[in-house]
Amino acid sequence: MAGRVITITSGKGGVGKTTATANIGVALARRGKRVACLDADIGLRNLDVVLGLENRIVYDLVDVVEGRARLRQALIKDKRLPDLCLLPAAQTRDKTAVKEAQMLKLVEDLKKDFDFILVDSPAGIEVGFKNAIAPADEVIIVTTPEVSAVRDADRIIGLVEAAEKPAPRLIINRLRPAMVKRGDMLDTKDVLEVLAVELIGIVPEDEGIITSTNKGQPAAFDDRSPAGGAFTRIGQRLLGEDVPFMVFDDSSGLFDRVSKFLKR
């Protein structure tokens, strides 16, 4: 059996790659899939913190690549979901510590034991990004509805295409319906008009994400969280389910959970 390798990337930093990786991982694992989250952001690791697994790290990705630990030793099982594992990045090294071939080999090994391998890419377009994209079967681009983030996402899509990967899919993160309504924020249509790729999820701005990130408890565990719900639906779409896109209506001050089909 061979798992699906999905790389989550963005170009611009701070748009929510790591949050997306953690939450999609949780969403898939809650559906009984075996998921390995791989932190490719060597030297600036975060995924362990967001998943609340920081204090369990003994070995990391670089230890595995350099032969100091076996893959199984470095993988950290999630305390809440036995199907979810994390392969943390090294914090004391940098991106040059891993070569593309080593990354491919590592992911190839993980594919034997997992249904999904989610690779959390570093920001940027340099070697770290290239390592993260090399093993990908699928690519998910995260952007926020800001011109700068969309510009970088466009650049990344070009690079993904040049690497001859299948057309990437898009998550629009931190959308603020009230601002869109006032015309102060790009809406989904504006973003898709530039990027022209398939949308796989829209995640509303949600203060709860900050709390959940700080606590190491991804929002996708909480069925009442608006952002967590959006990530859960992204997980379902990855599993091939046809889930309607939410229309976030801010008229009541809350996100009206009226689901309408958003015809694209």
């Binding site: 466009d154 650049r155 690497a163």
Partner: protein, 225 residues
């Protein structure tokens, strides 16, 4: 691994470099060029080079150009990353014209039409991508913000033009830019520069062309042209 590929086009030969290590590419290219029967295909050809995501420096391009020159081939355009393009531009201005092995045309002949043909690009040009060509460029797709298209003749975009374009890049003020949706970040023709108005204009889908009239860049509907 993607190997090198060759495609004969009306404009010449399109070579995609593939993703093998550089030495292997040069070796394979060298072999391909001397294969029996290859001489007639390659000899005197104008080459469009597609470097994909690979970054080529001045040294590598020089090596490539030298190899092509041995077969009387000329590199006319490069499609690829900005770094590679920069190296190409540096070489084009620094190097003498390709060695003249073919007899020079008689003086009264028409000016050489070598670089006047069009480059057709059938995809969206995304942020960070740069297309440069010695003739006209036709894009079927969008030119996104952050992308650049530079032609020595006209630029036509069958789609949304929102990046930076420069028509008549070698100083040709008669060049024009046309698009189905003309909203470039910056538009240059010859040595004139125009930029998008600071206030946002309601997006309209109507083919427009920009050209120079009385020393100014003027945008008008296509049908008025």
């Amino acid at each position: 691994m993607t190997p090198i590929s060759f495609k004969g086009t009306r404009e010449g030969i399109h070579i995609s470099l593939g993703d093998q290590p550089w030495r292997e590419i040069m070796d394979e290219l060298g072999q391909q060029l001397v294969r029996p029967g290859a001489q007639s295909f390659f000899r005197g050809a104008r080459v469009q080079l597609d470097t994909g995501a690979r970054l080529l420096g001045v040294t590598e391009l020089e090596e490539l150009i030298a190899l092509m020159a041995q077969h009387q081939m000329t590199l006319t355009s490069v499609i690829g990353e900005a770094e590679t393009q920069d190296a190409f531009i540096k070489l084009r201005s620094a190097l003498p014209a390709p060695p003249e092995i073919l007899p020079a045309p008689p003086a009264e002949a028409e000016p050489p039409a070598t670089d006047a043909t069009a480059l057709l690009i059938h995809r969206t040009i995304r942020s960070g991508q740069l297309i440069r060509h010695a003739g006209t460029i036709v894009v079927i797709g969008d030119v996104n913000p952050g992308a650049e298209v530079i032609a020595e003749k006209d630029i036509l975009v069958w789609g949304k033009l929102r990046g930076v374009v420069h028509a008549g890049a070698s100083g040709d003020a008669s060049a024009m830019v046309g698009a189905l949706y003309l909203a470039p970040t910056q538009l240059r023709i010859g040595s004139s520069i125009a930029r998008a108005p600071d206030e946002k204009r309601a997006p309209v889908w109507s083919a427009e062309i920009a050209r120079i009239r009385d020393g100014q860049i003027v945008v008008e509907p296509w049908n008025a042209a």
